[in-house]
């Protein structure tokens, strides 16, 4: 670790010492003891942070805010708790019947789809190994916000303007000379990475409008396509996390 890296890490070290037991800082802290110049920098940085924290702690909430919140809380009725359908025996039995029929249908499905191919390999490898994920630029930000929404179901066409996303700063990678965009988002506490490619760039890849599911190296994978784009969604949360989004 060089001093630039140490400084980068230490800027996240809280001045009240709350991070003293956090191993992430251990090597950088050790370096401040061995390198006097870095040690001086760190002392000044901590003093600056302490001064800032002290100033922020002086900001008081407006008079009356507490009372307003308490009064508002008293008149805000909790939302009624809906009784889950799974607690109704008749509906539960009906659902079980549907599940049996569905499972039987799947067993005899002529082409059980499996997500595979170079694009999927690339996406899984990138999602699990690369740390520089992120959707960037205003266009990617809008797409990211939409993907984060619990109401958005994946596995269908997405509002993607490939050229604009690429031009405005969306993370773009190169797979054998062809562009692949990536936007990451978090849902239900789990990270998902959505890879988007132009269908015309991968003419040999057979893709379905219906999501094809797979599990690779513990990661859940779903792949699907619309008229112009191929989509590969990868999550380290595995198959179960993926199914919740589809």
């Amino acid at each position: 670790m060089n001093n630039v890296e140490a400084k980068f890490i230490l800027q996240g070290y809280r001045p009240n010492g709350a991070d003293a037991a956090d191993g992430t800082f251990a090597a950088a802290l050790d370096q401040t003891r061995r390198d006097p110049a870095l040690g001086v920098w760190f002392e000044r940085e901590q003093a600056f942070d302490r001064a800032l924290s002290a100033k922020l702690a002086q900001i008081a909430a407006p008079a009356g805010l507490r009372e307003s919140i308490l009064a508002g809380g008293r008149v805000t009725a909790p939302a009624p708790v809906a009784r889950g359908w799974w607690r109704h025996p008749a509906l539960m039995a009906a659902a079980a019947g549907v599940a049996v029929i569905f499972a039987t249908s799947l067993a005899f499905w002529p082409q059980r789809a499996v997500a595979s191919g170079p694009l999927v390999d690339f996406a899984v490898s990138d999602a699990l190994n690369d740390r520089t994920h992120g959707g960037h630029g205003p266009e990617a930000g809008a797409l990211q916000a939409m993907l984060r929404e619990p109401a958005t179901r994946l596995g269908a066409s997405l509002p993607v303007d490939f050229a604009t996303l690429r031009k405005t700063g969306c993370r773009t990678m190169n797979l054998e000379g062809r562009d692949v965009l990536e936007v990451c988002f978090k849902r239900n506490g789990t990270w998902f990475h959505c890879y988007i490619a132009r269908r015309s760039d991968f003419p040999a890849l057979v893709a379905s409008a219906r999501p094809m599911l797979a599990e690779r190296n513990g990661a859940g994978v779903a792949a699907w396509a619309d008229a112009t784009h191929l989509y590969v969604l990868v999550t380290p949360g595995g198959h179960a996390a993926m199914e919740k989004l589809l």
Binding site: R14, L52, G134
Partner: protein, 182 residues
């Protein structure tokens, strides 16, 4: 919802939530509204959250989401890659200057930092959240939090220097009363 539990939650968290809201909204009145709104959502939905020890992060996350919702979240997402490298060795922190400044002036300087950096920076200076908790709260990777703290501090130093230069012209920070419920 037990009213005593609600009161305890309010007492424990409304001031830090207000400070966070103030840094985001840049306006005491809006910050008060945002803080109230957060607790009202709790009052309506919080019964579903059975683990009270997670209430703090739930409240901060909800406040942040409500803020984003309020100002059209897709308005601007800054691309870190677009901003050039982090300054290798930022200017020496003016500790004495900060210590002598009015707290309101320091908050004003904090409010001049780009929003994408301001949120993690404020949470960091409140010292209640580790960088890992900040990452969870803002739903960004840990490395992004580190990077935003680094860039945010650089912007904050520049803003403080500007405030210091114009200190004589600045009106001291004032608190505004919370809006009354209709």
């Amino acid at each position: 919802m037990a009213s005593d539990v609600f009161s305890q939650l309010v007492d424990a968290h409304y001031t830090p939530l207000f400070r966070f809201a103030l840094s985001l909204t840049k306006n005491s009145s809006d910050a008060g509204d945002l803080t109230q709104q957060t607790f009202f959502i709790w009052a309506k939905q919080g019964h579903a959250l059975r683990e009270l020890d997670k209430a703090k992060s739930w409240l901060f996350t909800t406040l942040y989401r409500e803020f984003l919702r309020g100002r059209r979240r897709a308005e601007r997402v800054t691309a870190l890659e677009d901003l050039g490298p982090v300054e290798a060795d930022p200017p020496a922190p003016a500790i004495d200057v900060v210590a002598g400044m009015d707290a309101g002036l320091v908050v004003e300087a904090l409010q001049e930092v780009d929003e994408v950096y301001r949120a993690p920076l404020t949470l960091f200076y409140m010292q209640d959240h580790s960088y890992k908790e900040i990452a969870d709260l803002l739903e960004v990777p840990i490395g992004t939090v580190m990077s935003r703290l680094s860039r945010g501090k650089t912007q904050l130093r520049a803003a403080l220097a500007r405030k210091e230069a114009g200190a004589a012209k600045v009106i001291p920070f004032q608190s505004f009363p919370a809006r009354k419920l209709s």
